[in-house]
């Protein structure tokens, strides 16, 4: 190779190398689209505290709660794509915000580049500990016999729980629930424990402790494998409903246009932090099931989930009793 070519190559590559090495030169923001203290926030603070050691700059968790995440994600879609702005994306909440035309979202699915997934909290169907429904079959039979009479709580309209009810109704023809939407897990707990609502579609992380103590009875976990937190509860696949797979996942994304070397740098620090024993221990204590996905695997998951959410969002909007 001629010397001038080497020189030219070096000169051309220099800014890139310099940029990758210079990043990060200042603290990095990590936006959480929910208020402080929620499970997304807690998990974010745990991983940020570990990842900043490797990144060499502090990671500042900023809460931009509101409108089921829409306020924070709107800001994220408009943020400067320079790597100093990352944000948590919660799926399928982000998908349904984009997909529901009523929400008039100012961004689409391509506005974000998924970097790394942290948590996958599987869906679960549960009833009160002394409920007459001993297993999933009892509940489905009742919902078939009395369509739209058995009340089922969700943690919000177009939440993963709402979509899960629709998946269940699709997989068990003739069964139809009376869907009652609440805002978040706490009111669902109060309403079902007070005997006002018969069953709840929820996530393992928020209820598994009460299932262990017997206060609540889990009927099925909406996953392909059993939850390590409640290994006695059968999965939907075991029960013969392999299509009823639902979860809430939380991962980190950056705005579209963020340079690839910067994404790689962030991914490297975050991945290292998520594999750290301290992270594993804290997440175990918080009852959050880890599923670390990076790069193309996470991007593929994001795309496929979006397509799946599109089908059920459309269905939710056309169902006579939403």
């Amino acid at each position: 190779m001629k010397p001038w070519k080497v020189l030219a190559g070096l000169l051309l590559a220099a800014p890139l190398v310099a940029f990758a090495q210079a990043f990060p030169a200042k603290p990095v923001q990590l936006m959480v689209a929910y208020p402080a203290g929620g499970s997304t926030d807690i998990a974010a603070r745990i991983v940020a505290a570990i990842a900043e050691k490797d990144l060499g700059q502090s990671i500042v968790v900023v809460n931009k709660g509101g409108a089921g995440g829409q306020v924070g994600w709107t800001e994220m879609s408009r943020a400067k794509p320079d790597g100093y702005y990352m944000g948590f994306i919660n799926l399928p909440a982000l998908n349904t915000v984009i997909l529901d035309p009523d929400r008039k979202a100012a961004f689409n699915a391509d506005a974000f580049v998924p970097v790394i997934n942290q948590v996958l909290d599987p869906g679960i169907i549960w009833v009160k500990g002394d409920s007459p429904y001993k297993n999933l079959k009892d509940l489905i039979d009742a919902a078939r016999k009395n369509p739209q009479k058995i009340s089922a709580a969700t943690t919000g309209i177009l939440s993963d729980d709402h979509l899960a009810i629709l998946m269940m109704e699709e997989a068990a023809p003739g069964a139809m629930f009376r869907i009652v939407h609440f805002e978040g897990g706490a009111p669902v707990m109060t309403a079902v424990m007070g005997g006002h609502i018969e069953c709840a579609f929820d996530n393992v992380g928020s209820v598994f402790r009460r299932i262990r103590t017997g206060e609540l009875r889990a009927l099925a976990v909406m996953d392909t494998q059993r939850s390590p937190f409640i290994p006695d509860v059968p999965t939907m696949r075991e029960l013969g409903y392999p299509t009823v797979i639902s979860s809430s996942t939380r991962g980190i994304a950056v705005p579209k246009g963020t340079p690839q070397p910067v994404i790689k740098r962030l991914e490297q620090s975050l991945k290292k932090a998520m594999d750290d024993p301290e992270h594993l221990k804290k997440m175990e204590e918080a009852g959050l099931q880890l599923r670390v996905m990076v790069g193309e695997e996470y991007a593929k998951y994001y795309r496929e989930l979006h397509a799946k959410a599109a089908k059920y969002t459309e269905w939710a909007r056309s169902r006579p009793h939403k």
Binding site: P35, A36, G37, S39, D41, I42, R45, A49, V62, N63, K64, G65, G66, A67, G68, Q70, V71, T74, D100, D102, R103, K104, A106, Q148, S151, I157, L158, R178, I179, V180, H181, F182, E183, A186, P187, M189, T190, A191, M193, G194, G195, H196, I197, R209, R210, T213, E215, K282, E285, A286, G287, H321, K322
Partner: protein
């Protein structure tokens, strides 16, 4: 009494120097959080949770609980001194507390608030020992229809809260309800009255609106009359007078009861008990016209209810594992992070810890009183500052508070706009309290109304076929009827002109 025995050993472990230090640090931090508007108890507690990661479980929870109580009291200080509620539960304290401060009685207002808080908190903590489990189970019978009926009752009561004119009060209530409609429809998810502004999707922030209506509007009114001190009269005594004690005693007793009962019911929130306590005092008073002009009962009752509520709301958490407010939910998160699951089994599995924490509630209430009474004089002296400095300081404080809520300038704008609206309404003689209560209750009322209808498949009968809901609605109907009759009587006296 098994509970009392356990409590004694709880005191023994809560009184170790380390745990006492945690409670003291928590009270101080909490008071600071309460003083800063915008940074409410929920956000404050959440931000401070990592501080407790390095402590052991007992110490961490003692400290967080102390932060919570401290924050509930801290909000009072700014309400009384500069008419800016540090957090939502102190809104109603502005009505009479600030008027007292203008008459030079800031010390008495802050003193009675500290003492009322102490009594209410102590009683609720004692009740937690004695009667918590059966009461908490009863509270679960409040489903969405019962909530709706309770809020409806509150809104009917508020018509009596207003000043001279029932029509003006009703107008302001409706204005508050209309403002509460802004944002995403809680059931269907469609935005309403948002004009495509994402910041409005979550509704108008309650704190910026109230800081505007009360704090900024007050500054505008003060600026009208230049070259005078904010408080013209001398600071008369920092201790409530014998007469004021007498008037407050009943208010403190009733405030304790109201705060305690409402604290048992998950989901009521800290604001409703304070308003309820205030309304009850005004209804029972022989001089209802004095309310809003500096009646000490109007400070004592809500402040007592506020702290009784804060302590009682621990009962559903400890007994049932159900968090009754966002702040309590964050405390529950702290329990869980420390490897403890609140709920009926916690009493069986870790009685040592539970009773130490309960004992620390008593200690926290004492520390709060000891901490705050000597400071009352210091706070009250702030009012001697010339008004131009105090006004500038207040405005800065409001702007920082509004900004720190979500970190957006939008809320600052909301606060300034509502400052102007509040100024105009005050000039026109419209009462602000009904609008504020309707704005707070509106979203909850709508949510529980529509959830109830989802439960019943659209049948309104659900509100009258359930006994608790039916009785609450009957009370509301009775109150409306009495108000209407009184109005009719008033009308005939005045010869039909109103």
């Amino acid at each position: 009494m098994e509970g009392v025995q356990y409590l004694a050993s709880g005191f023994a472990s809560a009184l170790t120097p380390a745990n006492l230090a945690f409670a003291l640090a928590g009270c101080i931090l909490g008071t600071l959080i309460g003083v800063l508007p915008g940074l409410g108890p929920a956000a404050g507690t959440a931000i401070l949770i990592p501080l407790t990661f390095t402590l052991d479980a007992t110490g961490a929870i003692i400290m967080l609980a102390a932060i919570y109580y401290g924050a509930m009291y801290g909000g009072t200080i700014t309400s009384v001194l500069i008419n800016v509620p540090g957090e939502a539960a102190s809104v109603v304290t502005c009505l009479d507390g600030y008027q007292m401060a203008r008459q030079g009685r800031a010390g008495a207002a802050l003193g009675i608030a500290a003492i009322g808080s102490f009594v209410g908190g102590l009683f609720a903590a004692a009740a937690l020992v004695m009667v918590a489990p059966p009461l908490a189970r009863f509270a679960l019978s409040f489903g969405p229809p019962e909530f709706f009926a309770l809020m409806f009752l509150g809104l009917c009561l508020v018509t009596g809260l207003a000043g001279q004119s029932l029509a003006a009060a009703l107008l302001m209530t409706v204005l508050g309800l209309l403002l509460a409609l802004i944002g995403i429809d809680p059931v269907r998810g469609a935005p309403r009255f948002t004009f495509g502004i994402p910041e409005l999707y979550d509704g108008l922030g309650f704190v910026p609106v109230v800081m505007g209506l009360f704090g900024v509007a007050e500054i505008l009114l003060v600026v009208e009359a230049p070259f005078r001190r904010l408080v013209e009269t001398k600071l008369k005594g920092l201790w409530p007078s014998a007469e004021e004690w007498k008037r407050s005693a009943g208010a403190i007793g009733r405030g304790t009861g109201i705060g305690f009962v409402l604290g048992l019911i998950p989901g009521v929130g800290a604001v409703i008990p304070t308003f309820m306590a205030y309304i009850v005092e005004k209804r029972l008073s022989r001089h209802p016209e004095k309310f809003g002009t500096g009646a000490i009962e109007g400070v004592a009752a809500p402040e007592t209810a506020n702290n009784a509520y804060a302590n009682a709301s621990m009962i559903p958490l400890l007994v049932l594992g159900v968090p009754s407010s966002p702040t309590i939910a964050i405390l529950m998160g702290a329990f869980i992070i420390n490897g403890l699951t609140p709920g009926p089994f916690l009493f069986k599995e870790r009685p040592d810890l539970v009773w130490t924490v309960i004992a620390s509630f008593f200690i926290g209430n004492v520390i709060l009183l000891v901490l705050n009474l000597p400071l009352v004089g210091l706070w009250a002296r702030l009012l001697r500052l010339p008004y131009q400095y105090l006004c500038a300081g207040t405005l800065l404080f409001c702007i920082v508070g509004a900004y720190s809520l979500k970190g957006t300038l939008f809320d600052v704008g909301v606060m300034l706009v509502f400052g102007i609206i509040g100024y105009l309404l005050r000039k026109l003689g419209f009462p602000l309290a009904p609008a504020v209560l309707a704005l707070i209750l509106g979203p909850f009322m709508e949510k529980s109304l529509r959830t109830s209808l989802e439960m019943s498949g659209g049948d309104f009968g659900i509100f009258v076929t359930r006994p608790i809901s039916a009785s609450l609605l009957a009370c509301a109907a009775l109150i409306l009827a009495v108000s209407a009759l009184r109005l009719a009587a008033l009308k005939s006296i005045r010869g039909g002109t109103l």
